[in-house]
């Protein structure tokens, strides 16, 4: 009988906190290297323009300036970034034109803020001064900003070598929508418009590149969620061996998706400059640059149709939509595929056609931002069900209940292709109890029956809403980890993904501690350093805990086995009479017969004697995990809010979430992820919107005008759990990183309509704002 303490599922405080709390954690801008130079970029003020001429001579002469580079100076090293995600090979009838971002503009500017030249100087201050010395001549061109106009004949072209601004087209179908429609008692058609928002992590992007000619080695510190692909791609671009390049993603101040975008212009330029000058070079983005040069997401226009029977059953769904990809499309069809796979929600929809046209525009690039296309899909289905509920006279809750996928239908095959190139299969779930729990927690029935009528009589506009949702998580391809028992008895673990605050140093340590029987604080995790571990992809799509976590679990299990086998020999006791606890191997019922893990590690790596052929020295294992397909989580949010009828400002009275993400590793960390996601979702729904004018100019590129919610806008969030294990991995976990953001726009729409019950209001757009709500009501 082998027993260890259970660490998984415990609210354990984080290993990484003391460093972060005392200002002793290394972020990219904290890197200081003797002789380091600083970069500043000249960026285009125009969204669409031809670069006629550029004269950097004055900038080069400014005292303190070491070099100024343009596209021409890069010569043959000037290459657009690599395609990051190709279209799914298994999808039929895909049109895809791959156009990727460039290091520095060569002939044409395609979005405001695109980098045209870089100044390298002794300080950032001098570099910025010198940027203003550069003389450029840009011939402004008409900008493509509106998605529909962008596809019309005669529209200006973002990419001149294409015939139109169509970047991609994908048609997917399940069943036969037309047939379903012909049998329907009710068909609802709507146009739904969703607009852009920014991730706005508190830390802007940055990169320090240090090429040392004497050792022919390049070290890069980068605010990236994907250090390994950055290493591999950078080595390729610079003609180096992958082992000559080390990429470190140290502590990162929030990622949320845009830091998963790879080979930003700056990531292509700065390492090149370092190699050219043989000096360390630092570039740190400022907040205004972040609004222009860091990726954004959410812009889509949907023409949707739902066909229902008179008792509220969804017979079929049809969606034709446009997706704004910005000036380039390095990330392929990832976001629209996510949207397509979430438009059916957690419902039993047997007939679905979805058709997306991806459009190039003269705006900042679009790549996944927390939610990554899923919020749009959920917004659509939940809005349609709200409208159907009204038209069919069926209760809002009841119409969902009738359509949710029943528990015995899992794994449920939707057949259309998802962002991981696999057919969409919802692995496991038990949806109704999750939804029911959320409604219970918020007191839905009592509120609607008793409290709301009373408040309405008092003249208050208080509304209640709920929104169920699915979240695809934990996608492959794979991650890996190496677990080692050290002579001190402590455990060291290395994995390829990076960390942006999700508590990897702790949650992963819990997984290891569970297997190997040590204290959580005695497990040291290293993430995001390609020298420590160089196989893997990155932290995105709510997959870190699932994929890396399971790789760590697999590696720890192998180490556990090695420990037990060796201890069994040393203690001359059969394995099943041993237990691992407190850093020791103990013989059950013989308390003094023990050996510490540290001693075992030494024995496994002897200075004399032999290591048996066919075995490995030490107590170490490397393992990989790649799921067949991603696990799908389910949840429901519910909210009570009050709307001020004059100012349209809202006050959220209560906010409830219930989440089923399978096995929970650390409830404290999980709550933190949900709170943070909801807070971002609330921003997405009611406070944040990027406003571009008809010339592609971003009009609110600062926190003064782009409104991130503060502590006074975000309510207390009550978190409930249901656990339905995933069958796709040993830990039974599903991801949850993005869950907080996904249902919030749909939730707001329902709750606000419910609050303003006596108004004619049908919300078919996101984001909203007090201004916009006022406009909608006064149409």
């Amino acid at each position: 009988m082998i027993m260890t303490k259970k660490f998984i599922g415990k609210r354990i405080v984080r290993n990484e906190d003391p460093q972060l709390l005392t200002g002793q954690a290394l972020f990219v801008d904290d890197v200081e290297i003797p002789g380091m130079l600083h970069a500043a970029f000249l960026r285009s003020d125009y969204a669409h323009a031809r670069l006629l001429s550029i004269d950097v001579s004055a900038a080069r002469q400014r005292p303190g300036v070491v070099a100024v580079f343009t596209a021409e100076d890069m010569g043959d090293d000037w290459q657009p970034g690599p395609p990051l995600v190709s279209p799914p090979p298994t999808a039929k009838d895909v049109i895809f034109y791959s156009r990727r971002q460039v290091p520095l503009v060569k002939d044409k500017v395609r979005h405001a803020g695109e980098a045209i030249a870089v100044v390298i100087a002794e300080s950032r201050y001098i570099a910025e001064d010198a940027v203003e010395d550069i003389l450029i001549e840009l011939e402004p061109l008409e900008a493509v900003v509106d998605l529909e106009k962008g596809l019309e004949a005669g529209s200006p072209l973002v990419h001149d070598d294409l015939e139109s601004n169509l970047a991609a087209h994908l048609f997917q179908k399940k069943g036969d929508y037309e047939e379903a429609r012909s049998k329907a008692d009710l068909v609802i058609k709507r146009r739904i418009i969703i607009d852009r928002g920014a991730a706005s992590a508190m830390e802007n992007r940055g990169i320090v590149a240090h090429w040392e000619a004497k050792s022919q080695h390049l070290t890069i510190w980068d605010t990236t969620q994907a250090p390994i692909p950055i290493r591999n791609g950078t080595a390729a671009r610079l003609g180096l061996s992958e082992h000559q390049v080390r990429v470190i993603a140290p502590f990162i101040g929030g990622g949320f998706g845009p830091k998963m975008m790879m080979f930003y212009a700056e990531e292509m330029v700065i390492p090149w400059v370092s190699k050219k000058l043989n000096r360390p070079i630092k570039w740190i983005e400022d907040r205004r640059e972040n609004f222009y040069a860091t990726t954004q997401e959410r812009g889509q226009i949907h023409d949707v149709e739902i066909a229902l029977s008179s008792d509220g059953h969804i017979l079929g769904l049809k969606d034709v939509f446009l997706h704004d990809t910005g000036a380039y499309d390095p990330y392929g069809l990832t976001i629209p595929l996510n949207t397509q796979c979430h438009t059916m929600g957690g419902y039993d929809v047997k007939n679905f056609t979805t058709e997306v046209s991806v459009v190039f525009t003269n705006k900042t690039l679009v790549t996944p931002v927390r939610g990554a296309g899923r919020p749009q899909g959920i917004f659509i289905i939940e809005r349609l069900l709200d409208i159907a509920s009204k038209e069919l006279g069926i209760d809002l809750v009841e119409i969902r209940k009738r359509n949710l996928i029943p528990p015995d239908a899992f794994p449920y095959e939707h057949k259309i292709i998802d962002q991981a190139f696999a057919p969409l299969i919802l692995d496991s779930g038990n949806y109704w109890p999750v939804m029911e729990k959320a409604l219970e927690m918020i007191g839905y029935e009592e509120f609607v029956k008793d409290e709301q009528p009373r408040l309405r009589k008092e003249g208050k506009y208080v509304g209640i809403g709920f929104a169920p949702f699915i979240e695809s998580t934990g996608v492959g391809p794979y991650e890996g980890a190496r677990v080692t028992v050290e002579a001190s008895g402590k455990i060291s673990v290395a994995t390829g993904i990076g960390t942006q605050g999700q508590g990897h140093f702790t949650a992963f340590a819990q997984i290891v501690a569970e297997q190997v029987g040590v204290a959580v604080k005695d497990v040291r995790i290293v993430t995001g350093d390609t020298t420590e571990f160089h196989w893997g992809t990155g932290t995105f799509a709510s997959r870190g805990a699932v994929v890396a976590g399971n790789a760590i679990h697999a590696a720890s299990s192998i180490v556990r086995k090695k420990i037990l086998e060796l201890a069994s020999k040393v203690l001359e006791t059969p394995i099943d009479e041993l237990e691992l606890d407190d850093g020791l191997v103990r013989v059950v019922d013989i308390p003094h017969k023990t050996i510490s893990l540290g001693e075992l590690a030494l024995l496994a790596n002897p200075l004399r004697g032999a290591v048996e052929p066919g075995t490995e020295p030490g107590l170490e294992a490397t393992a990989y995990f790649g799921p067949n397909y991603g696990a799908t989580a389910f949840g429901t949010h519910a909210m009570i809010l009050e709307v001020d009828p004059e100012t349209m400002m809202i006050k959220i009275k209560r906010y409830v979430t219930v989440e089923d993400c399978g096995t929970v590793l650390n409830p404290l960390i999980l709550e933190g992820q949900i709170h943070g996601g909801v807070s971002m979702g609330i921003g997405n729904a009611y406070y944040e919107q990027l406003h571009f004018d008809e010339n592609g100019q971003l009009l609110n590129a600062s926190f003064a005008d782009y409104l991130i919610p503060s502590a006074t806008e975000i309510p207390r969030i009550e978190v409930g759990h249901v656990e339905t294990r995933s069958s796709l991995n040993e830990l039974g976990t599903k991801g949850v990183g993005e869950a907080g953001t996904i249902p919030v726009p749909a939730l707001f729409a329902q709750a606000i309509e419910n609050a303003l019950y006596n108004q004619e209001l049908e919300i078919l757009e996101m984001p909203l704002s007090p201004n916009r709500l006022f406009e909608l009501l006064n149409k």
Binding site: L21, T22, R287, L668, S679
Partner: protein, 158 residues
């Protein structure tokens, strides 16, 4: 080369004498001249609060000040609140209540909270939220931060 100013400032109890350009921001001076990189820069326009330090005990935005404005004054940064082996009560409770995720906004929040609790040792939740409404956090949704401040207030009273 601009004329340099002979700045003398006390930071976290230690006196520093440096010649600085008048236009050097306090945040840059602390981070790069003094190597105190705990203070973070999030926006450079005074909204996010990550750069908050205490000037003679009062919270200020170091990204909106010039280093020379601190001449002969006292500055406290996060490094002055506690060390890894000797966390202050506020830092301890932030760990207990999981008020830190990525840690980027944290130094600004801790300095703000330190000053706040000195003025209001027994705050309500609403008062806490109001006090930190000038510090943006993108990770935590603020709830665990508020919990941490409440816990700290209780700890410091005892």
């Amino acid at each position: 080369m601009q004329n340099l100013f002979d700045l003398a400032v006390t930071v976290n109890g230690s006196r520093y004498e440096h010649a600085v350009e008048p236009r050097t921001l306090l945040s840059d001076f602390l981070r790069h001249d003094l190597g105190l990189t705990g203070t973070h820069v999030g926006c450079e326009h005074g909204v996010c609060g990550a750069c908050t330090v205490l000037l003679d005990g009062q919270p200020v935005r170091s990204c909106l000040m010039f280093a020379v404005q601190t001449h002969e004054h006292e500055v406290t940064t996060i490094e002055g609140l506690g060390t890894i082996d000797n966390l202050s009560p506020i830092q301890e409770t932030f760990q207990e209540a999981h008020g830190v995720q990525c840690g980027f906004c944290t130094p600004g929040i801790l300095t703000t909270v330190k000053s706040f609790l000195e003025q209001n040792p027994d705050p309500s939740e609403d008062e806490i939220r109001e006090a930190i409404s000038g510090n943006l956090c993108r990770c935590t949704g603020y709830q665990h931060i508020v919990d941490a401040v409440k816990l700290a207030a209780e700890k410091m009273k005892a």
